[in-house]
């Protein structure tokens, strides 16, 4: 309710997919976030976003410079895209990713990130590239690309003491990012505690369960029904689904206004929210996920079935308390 919160959206080795996906958010939508859907969440301004902003060239860059000087405090830095290792490019006198120039030399994205990180109230990595490096970080990685957390150090905290918040997904699901940003605003204003994060700095309220646990086809799997051909309506495990080893709720929530979801519609999960994506064991994408999961899954499911049977026996013996 008090004071503006600025948002600076910095693109690195990105494909702009997370920006487009952010526009898929519904409740709140991007426009809701910017207009302030309730007074407690109002006062958010998007100061820099290369894809939609009105100014261009120098006029645009002044905004990044003033944020780095502290003139936009407090601001949330949203990063889209991976961070390349510029020391590799320097060896041949070049650069991998530049945003503007300084003293006749390209000002690299990584340098901009370093400067902005010193002033940012919080950093939110939008999507798998910014979170973990994503495809640019995949095997072969010629540019030394990595996620923001690995670039700044896993122990990095903002001047307000907030660790990096990763919202992975390739691209990030619009709802995930909008909810995390709204949550962050309400937290900064003191209406909510900060979101609890898992070991990979992902908000637990989104990433606590696997795609398999969240899958509408998981019940069919428990019932022994597997798809053998694309188009079949059953579990996608035999056709390469990595749902059991990937943390994501898209199968349950859908992707655009509740529509879609990877195994939901019959396509294998490819593990796009995970730090190891796109390498093994997530790829090859049509290769079956490692079998280890199924052993644990069976033990858990037997335990669950046993509990269900025992619950019924107990009810007959001692009656139903509710």
């Amino acid at each position: 309710m008090s004071g503006e919160i600025h948002v600076v959206w910095l693109p690195g080795q990105a494909c702009t997919g997370c920006t487009v996906s952010f526009l898929n958010a519904t409740h709140p939508s991007v426009v809701d976030l910017l207009t302030g859907f309730i007074p407690q969440a109002a006062g958010v301004t998007l100061d820099y976003h290369a894809t939609i902003m009105l100014p261009w060239g120098d006029k645009a860059l002044t905004i990044l410079d003033s944020a780095a000087k502290g003139e936009l405090d407090p601001f949330v830095l949203v990063v889209e895209g991976a961070v390349p290792d510029e020391s590799i490019a320097e060896k041949t006198g070049g650069f991998w990713c530049a945003i503007g120039e300084e003293n006749g030399k390209p000002l690299t994205f990584s340098e901009r990130l370093n400067r902005l990180s010193e002033r940012a109230a919080a950093i939110v990595s939008a999507g798998t590239c910014a979170s973990f490096g994503g495809i640019p970080h995949g095997r072969g990685n010629p540019t030394g690309a990595k996620g923001v957390m690995d670039h700044l150090g896993r122990g990095w905290k903002s001047k307000l003491g907030i660790p990096i918040i990763n919202v992975p997904g390739c691209p990030v699901m619009g709802e995930h990012l909008a909810e995390t940003l709204a949550h962050a605003v309400l937290s900064v204003r003191g209406y909510l505690p900060l979101p609890e994060l898992d070991g990979e700095h992902r908000p637990k309220f989104i990433f606590a369960h696997t795609a398999h646990e969240n899958c509408p086809r998981a019940g069919l799997f428990s019932d022994g029904k597997n798809s053998h051909e694309f188009g079949d309506p059953y579990c996608m495990g035999l056709l390469g689904c990595k749902g059991p080893i990937s943390h994501c709720d898209a199968p349950r929530r859908g992707f655009v206004e509740g529509v879609g979801g990877c195994p939901t519609v019959g396509s294998p999960c490819i593990g796009c929210t995970e730090p190891g994506f796109p390498d093994e064991p997530y790829s090859p994408f049509l290769k079956k996920a490692p079998a280890g999961f199924f052993v644990m899954e069976k033990i858990h499911s037997i335990k669950g079935s046993a509990e269900a049977v025992w619950g019924r026996i107990k009810e007959r013996l001692v009656g139903r308390p509710i």
Binding site: A98, I99, P136, G231, F255, V256
Partner: protein
């Protein structure tokens, strides 16, 4: 009089990292030189090496999050070919519906969200006060259809974050992505494209849900196209025809496969290419040179003379599968060898984009290598001229959109549209073609939904055909993304990727010059563009340059598989 040098970087309201360096002759009031430079590299082609070929269908979509689906489509076609895995008709129909859904989101995004603000009240009032004055007095010829009484009303509606067209377009675009998610699991980056078809369980309600969302686009097209027509005609009346003008050298791969014609076999590609609802074609100097996809493919060349890459040794592959000769600069023979180099060396290497050219290898047009332009205008042109579809009338493309009665839209009745081949290719006509293309896609998709329903009626509901991966194979997938001609080339050895190459439409358009006589299309389009902005303090904002560039709807992550930066103006004295 002096010349002014201007560097615009970052070029905002485009996808990715692009810079433009331009020189303006202030005396003549015109831009006389330009360099287009891309400032970001990730190395997709390097990362793809030695991976499972099918994985490219997912990985290459991540080249670009604005237009990922055509990457998935081109890749799926290249892999279908290498795996010898043709999909069943319903598999092809669903691919078309996914591809079209994305184009329905992407054309208004280009016209209204990215390019629109340059013609909005908030920019024009300051940059071109004479236009603004005229716009206030100019009645919109199609006000009865779209409701904006004057051109100034249209300009106000284009203001970012507050304009009614800007906001409505955002909602319509989302509906396009929702249609893509319905059949593609998600968007950006659809997940259901697989070799041999699609990984989608087709349910009884999918097609009706798709049709219900398509109806919104059909209704929106009946307002959106007349709005853009009114705006484009006004700009033309203001004398803006010279902006962004370049010679009529165009490339289109077409799109929207006939479900019964596509065989995924290279030798048949010329044939099924001509059955597409959007026709392929290669145009030089305003003449259609060929519409044969095989011939177009064989003529593709990629050069790195001015790009941060090293040369490579070739050729490894001397002939295409139909026995045509392959040059060492053909993508099937290319190896990506990045070599980062110094910034802004205009006489040397200066961009992360490469320079594709099309060689007239059958040697008909004068000069054998040509910088050709890709985009909606290219494919509208080749489809209108080609005579391969019934809507093609030689000098125009004509179709009608069916009745669609949707709350919130002004026109329900059936409406006929006719896009006429313009005399010039310029900033205005690129934007107009993009708007008309939206209507043509909605029309195609309406036909495709009916065809898919017919397939259901006939029991042809299989979406995928089983295949057995061969050991080696060659594949190419050629399709028009919203921004133009996109192709992927794969060479598979021992069931792994040996070479994977991508040339995107923005590479065709944004690539650097090969010599001062052979500029890239962006560069060429800026040269000769008049300076229309008010020059109060003598400093250029470069608004005319950014308009030219945005008319191409750049997508730079695509392009390098680009650049951002600062504008810098300095006075240089006339020598």
């Amino acid at each position: 009089m002096s010349k002014q040098e201007i560097t615009i970087e970052p070029m905002t309201r485009i996808e990715g990292h692009l810079g433009i360096h331009a020189i303006a002759d202030m005396g003549k009031g015109v831009y006389v030189d330009a360099h287009s430079f891309v400032t970001m590299f990730r190395g997709w082609e390097v990362i793809l090496r030695d991976r499972e070929p099918a994985d490219a269908i997912w990985i290459t979509q991540r080249i670009c999050g604005v237009c990922p689906t055509p990457h998935g489509m081109a890749s799926a076609m290249a892999i279908d070919m290498a795996y010898r895995a043709p999909p069943p008709p319903m598999g092809i129909a669903i691919r078309n519906l996914i591809h079209g859904a994305e184009q329905l989101y992407d054309s208004p995004l280009g016209c209204i969200i990215l390019e629109g603000p340059d013609y909005s009240q908030s920019v024009v009032e300051r940059s071109n006060p004479d236009w603004w004055k005229a716009a206030k007095g100019e009645k919109s010829p199609h006000a009865d259809l779209h409701g904006y009484k004057t051109i100034a009303d249209i300009m106000t509606a284009l203001n970012p974050l507050s304009g009614s067209l800007w906001l409505r377009s955002l909602a319509v675009e989302k509906l396009g992505r929702k249609m893509a998610a319905l059949l593609g699991a998600k968007h950006p980056h659809v997940n259901t494209l697989v070799p041999g078809g699609v990984a989608k369980t087709l349910t009884v309600s999918d097609l009706e849900q798709y049709a219900a969302m398509l109806a919104h686009h059909i209704a929106f097209a009946k307002e959106f196209i007349p709005v853009m027509d009114d705006l484009c005609n006004f700009l033309s009346a203001m004398g803006y025809d010279q902006a962004g003008s370049r010679k009529i050298n165009l490339i289109s791969y077409g799109g929207y496969e006939d479900p019964y014609a596509y065989t995924a076999k290279y030798e048949d590609m010329g044939e099924w290419g001509l059955k597409r609802k959007v026709s392929p074609g290669l145009v030089l100097g305003g003449d259609m040179i060929t519409q044969d996809l095989i011939e177009i493919n064989v003529g593709v060349r990629e050069y790195v003379d001015r790009s941060y890459f090293k040369e490579w040794a070739g050729p490894h592959i001397r002939e295409d599968p139909a026995g045509n000769p392959l040059a060492e600069n053909h993508p099937w023979n290319k190896e990506t060898r990045p070599a980062p180099g110094p910034f802004k060396r205009w006489d040397s290497k200066y961009s992360w984009a490469t320079s594709p050219r099309w060689e007239d290898w059958k040697k008909r047009a004068g000069g054998f290598n040509h910088a050709v332009e890709a985009g909606p205008i290219a494919r509208m042109w080749t489809t209108a001229r080609g005579g391969k579809v019934s809507e093609s009338k030689g000098n125009s493309l004509r179709w009608s959109l069916p009745r669609a009665s949707i709350a919130g839209y002004r026109v329900a009745e059936e409406m006929e549209f006719e896009w006429k081949i313009p005399e010039k290719i310029n900033t205005i006509e690129r934007i107009r073609a993009r708007a008309y293309y939206y209507g043509y896609v909605a029309y195609i998709l309406y036909g495709q939904v009916l065809q898919a329903l017919d397939l259901v009626k006939r029991g042809e509901t299989k979406v995928w055909r089983r295949y057995r991966k061969p050991r080696d194979g060659l594949g190419v997938g050629m399709i028009d993304a919203i921004r133009g001609a996109l192709a992927h080339w794969v060479s598979m050895r021992n069931q792994k990727i040996e070479v994977y190459q991508v040339i995107t439409p923005s590479t065709w358009n944004a690539g650097p010059r090969l010599s001062d006589e052979d500029l890239g299309p962006y560069e060429e389009a800026i040269v000769g563009t008049p300076i229309t902005e008010e020059r109060g303090k003598g400093e250029l904002t470069g608004v005319d340059v950014v308009r030219v560039i945005r008319s191409f709807d750049p997508c730079l992550a695509c392009c390098v598989h680009i650049y951002d930066g600062a504008k810098e103006t300095k006075q240089i004295l006339e020598i």
